[in-house]
């Protein structure tokens, strides 16, 4: 029996913290901007709507200036956070696994070993098609929390990664 049980030097293991993660495509930020702008437009619309309806029904004067200031303040902060969070979206494909990190306020780094991937999917929304981007979805057998969805990859790269992973997954079986 060819059995060995060598001690593992934990310091010499491949380190995820030293990994050079690759940022996602810059043009994905445009999609984020568009989404956020739509949200802000709805919020500001709501402010005017509320004012219009309430003042019609009751005899209260709402201070439009204050309300707008609060909403606009929120929008600015939210935009700033979105921008910083965007920079945190990074990924890496290693020989044996896929690493994806994201999140500003709650930062997470998820790694899915290739041998645990059930299937890979590449999907493109209408907006993403417009900017030549794609989303790579990686499914495992675990609960939904362990599935990865890497948004904002250049279409070609997403396709390539999908090929690489599919080959690896099929090769292992």
């Amino acid at each position: 029996m060819n059995f060995t049980n060598l001690q593992i030097e934990t310091d010499s293991l491949p380190k995820v913290e030293d990994l050079d993660l690759k940022p996602i495509s810059k043009s994905y930020f445009k999609i984020i901007i568009l989404n956020q702008l739509a949200l802000y437009a709805i919020l500001i619309g709501l402010v005017f709507g509320i004012r219009y309806f309430i003042e019609k029904e009751e005899e209260v004067q709402l201070n439009l200036g204050y309300m707008l200031a609060i909403v606009l303040g929120f929008c600015v902060v939210n935009f700033f956070i979105s921008f910083l969070a965007f920079k945190k979206r990074k990924y890496a494909i290693r020989e044996h696994d896929v690493v994806y990190s994201k999140g500003l306020i709650i930062h997470s780094v998820t790694t899915v070993p290739m041998s645990r991937i059930q299937h890979v999917e590449e999907s493109r929304s209408w907006l993403a098609r417009h900017f030549g981007l794609a989303t790579l979805k990686i499914f495992t057998a675990g609960e939904s929390g362990s599935d990865l969805s890497i948004k904002g990859l250049p279409h070609l790269e997403a396709k390539q990664i999908k090929e690489i992973i599919s080959n690896k997954v099929n090769g292992n079986n």
Binding site: V16, I105, S108, T110, R116, G145, S146, N172
Partner: protein, 497 residues
């Protein structure tokens, strides 16, 4: 009895018609329950609506039952299963014909179940579950017991041949049988908070279901009368509250005991050579086998009182089993030695070595903050509902909250050995979570922006059945664990199922 030949397509026992009929009838009436009551009441009140008389209603009811019966018969006639070499075939459907084929190797579990009606007419149902698709669950609802056992054996046959050749010489060994006394203790020592919540939810659910009818009875006015506070009646109120509390406590005790008895009646753990079989239940008799390679997590729970009586429960989590089944995989009232033995059997070479480590004290800060928030909400509610009068309750709440934080931290630990991760947690209960490293599906580091400053990170470990977290540890240590776990999973190429 002659052995059944499973290679020919065959129907279930003809008693199946009764089972299907009863099942469909019950689901039908459940769906239209509220409607029925509404109709019934209004008809009784006014004798007739339009042209509908009670007799007509009665006839309609019979017609509905007849239709359900016909459907049941058709379902029964169209339900055929057989085994060919390595596959299980099933044909169902009255109008839409479905043909399901399951390779034996993909079968994860075969349960034998017997609900109350099935016990009366002496048949069992066989449930076949595969990992993955939740919908592909298959149930043959009426077979006589010897046939069912034979089918189960045949379904597992192939996969066992692959591993070892000698499962045929079945070494049966009833390893553990629960005594009524231990079940009683188990029920009494349960975490009654949960029962209390269930009762509360049940009453609340009933209330909202019947709100309309209750309204007509003007119950709310009565309650409003009761709740109205007077200074003279303050003492009265105190006594009433005390009575209510005692009643609730008593009911939750009773509820726990009865529930434990019904679910775990005659609990029996049978040890086979490779697998472990659990039999239990009073109204719903179930029998299921556990295969060690399919197990993703083991969860051991006990609490102070249970420890005193030497009672431990063991839950076995498998991949993709729905929540309702999941709770059946629980063995209660085990003694410490039996528990250790079973753990050893289900997880080969489970070693408890490795350093026991604790989360950073930051853990306490977070739980204290959660508790503070909880207290604020409770205080807000008390203020809103009763004014200043009940704020003295904080004398009770605050020490409880402090104890909660203290125990939550005291019980939290983690231990990583070569092949296993063990995580301890719990406040009232003591929970131990064990998982095998080579069954990990994904690993995640999680850090909030506040934790970044003080270099604290949590590690989330996903398996196919559930995720567990090693909370709030040093960043460097977390990275080390992360790398180590990934190395283990990726270098071994062992299957997770």
């Amino acid at each position: 009895m002659e052995t059944t030949d499973f290679s020919q397509p065959q129907r279930q026992s003809s008693k199946g018609i009764i089972i299907i009929f009863a099942f469909n009838a019950v689901t039908f009436f459940k769906k239209f329950f509220v409607l029925f009551i509404a109709f019934g009441i209004s008809i009784l009140k006014s004798k007739s609506i339009g042209n509908v008389t009670p007799t007509m209603m009665f006839l309609a009811l019979i017609a509905v039952l007849l239709i359900i019966l016909v459907i049941a018969i058709l379902k029964y006639l169209n339900f055929k299963f057989h085994l060919s070499n390595d596959d299980f075939h099933l044909a169902t459907g009255i109008i839409n014909k479905d043909n399901t084929i399951i390779p034996k190797s993909k079968i994860q579990n075969v349960y034998i179940k017997q609900n109350f009606l099935q016990q009366v007419i002496d048949v069992v149902s066989v449930k076949i579950e595969t990992a993955g698709d939740k919908k592909s669950e298959i149930e043959i609802s009426a077979l006589d017991k010897p046939t069912a056992l034979l089918l189960k054996k045949k379904l597992f046959h192939k996969s066992t041949v692959e591993n070892t050749q000698i499962e045929d010489i079945e070494e049966k060994n009833i390893f553990f049988k629960v005594t009524p006394k231990r079940l009683l203790l188990e029920g009494l020592s349960e975490n009654h908070f949960k029962s209390f919540l269930i009762i509360f939810a049940f009453v609340f659910g009933l209330y909202s279901e019947f709100e309309q009818y209750l309204e007509t009875l003007r119950v709310e006015d009565h309650i409003a009368d009761l709740v109205r506070l007077d200074d003279d009646t303050f003492f009265n109120l105190l006594v009433t509250n005390l009575v209510i509390i005692i009643a609730v406590v008593f009911i939750s005790f009773l509820f726990s005991v009865v529930k434990t008895f019904i679910i775990n009646f005659n609990l029996e753990v049978v040890e086979h050579q490779k697998t472990v079989e659990i039999n239990k239940g009073l109204f719903n008799k179930i029998s299921l086998s556990l295969t060690p390679s399919r197990i993703q997590n083991l969860v051991i729970t006990t609490n102070r009182v249970k420890q005193y009586f030497n009672l431990h429960s063991l839950s076995v989590k498998q991949a993709m089993v729905n929540a309702k089944q999941q709770k059946n995989f629980k063995i209660v009232a085990l003694e410490k030695e039996q528990l250790n033995y079973l753990t050893d059997k289900l997880l080969t070479n489970y070693s408890n070595n490795g350093e026991t480590e604790k989360p950073r004290p930051y853990f306490m800060r977070i739980s204290a903050m959660k508790m503070l928030f909880f207290l604020l909400v409770i205080n807000g509610m008390l203020l809103g509902l009763f004014g200043m009068e009940l704020l003295w309750m904080n004398i009770l709440f605050v020490p409880l909250a402090m104890l909660y934080v203290y125990y939550a931290y005291k019980k939290a630990y983690y231990r990583i050995s070569d092949d296993f991760v063990t995580i301890g947690s719990g406040v009232i209960d003591t929970t131990t979570n064990i998982l095998e490293i080579h069954k990990i599906q994904a690993v995640k580091l999680k850090q909030t922006i506040f934790q970044k400053r003080i270099q604290i990170t949590s590690v989330v470990i996903y398996t196919a059945s559930k995720s567990v977290m090693i909370p709030y540890i040093n960043e460097k240590r977390a990275c080390k664990i992360y790398n180590f776990l990934l190395y283990k999973v990726e270098s071994q190429e062992r299957d997770w199922m």
